[in-house]
């Protein structure tokens, strides 16, 4: 059963990946990705970042993405944790961890989930910089990353 959580609290990536594969000897590979808040974006210093989301839709959108990954690749289990609220540079933002029998499928499913999360899950980042607050713009590069997996809809436009 996939684990999907949207929370303000930090997470322990080590403990989460250990729990993901605990007691399952079929697991031969765990691939994980941790997204972290940078202190600079588009050339400006970032002092804090606020993550807004759409409660109710967010969890459903993440579950759909994970279901699609599990239908495409034979993976054993998946954990996705995404933080919301106020974050500072060096804070963890997101964890995607995939347990599978072999590394190829675990790597691919992990990357697919991140690429789809970036373009389909309803989160928005607002940065505080010395020049004032600004909403982060979506990147065309994220659409291109999702398109590699066959996604046709565009987010950044």
């Amino acid at each position: 059963m996939p684990t999907i959580r949207v929370q303000t609290e930090d997470f322990d990536a080590g403990a989460e990946t250990a729990r993901l594969r605990a007691g399952d000897p079929k697991v031969g590979a765990v691939a994980s990705f941790v997204g972290v808040c940078r202190d600079v974006n588009e050339g400006d210093a970032v002092t804090t970042m606020t993550l807004e989301h759409y409660p109710g839709m967010t969890e459903k959108a993440l579950a759909k993405i994970v279901d699609e990954a599990m239908a495409r690749w034979r993976v054993v289990d998946v954990t996705v944790i995404h933080r919301v609220g106020e974050l500072r540079p060096a804070d963890q933002i997101v964890l995607v961890a995939v347990a599978g029998a072999h590394r190829g499928e675990a790597f691919a499913a992990c990357e697919f989930i991140m690429d789809y999360l970036k373009t389909r899950a309803p989160f928005w980042k607002k940065e505080q910089t010395p020049q004032g607050a600004r909403w982060v713009d979506a990147r065309a590069g994220d659409d291109e990353a999702a398109a590699r997996w066959g996604a046709d809809e565009k987010n950044a436009a």
Binding site: L51, M57, L117, A121, P122, F123, W124, V136, A138
Partner: protein, 84 residues
């Protein structure tokens, strides 16, 4: 009635997080609802005009301009997503 929600920069530009409206006659798709809101003028026209990057979800699923809407639906308008 439909429940309309606005998120992120759209919520700030429109000065509200949501509202409930009676669907006017003939408004039965996402594109028609968006045009109805743009017709209010001012901030609505500026934020939702054609060509602005706006994404829409109907009942928590990403929607297209042609996606049907009916009374009781929850329709959310928001900028391109930037999580992860």
């Amino acid at each position: 009635m439909v429940r309309i929600l606005y998120f992120a920069k759209l919520r700030e530009d429109l000065g509200k997080g949501g509202e409930e409206i009676e669907l006017p006659a003939g408004v039965a798709t996402v594109a028609a609802l968006r045009a109805h809101l743009v017709a209010r003028g001012g901030a609505w026209a500026a934020a939702l005009a054609q060509g602005k990057s706006v994404r829409v979800a109907v009942n928590h699923d990403m929607a297209e301009p042609t996606t049907p809407i009916k009374p009781g639906d929850e329709v959310a308008f928001f900028p391109p997503v930037t999580g992860g």
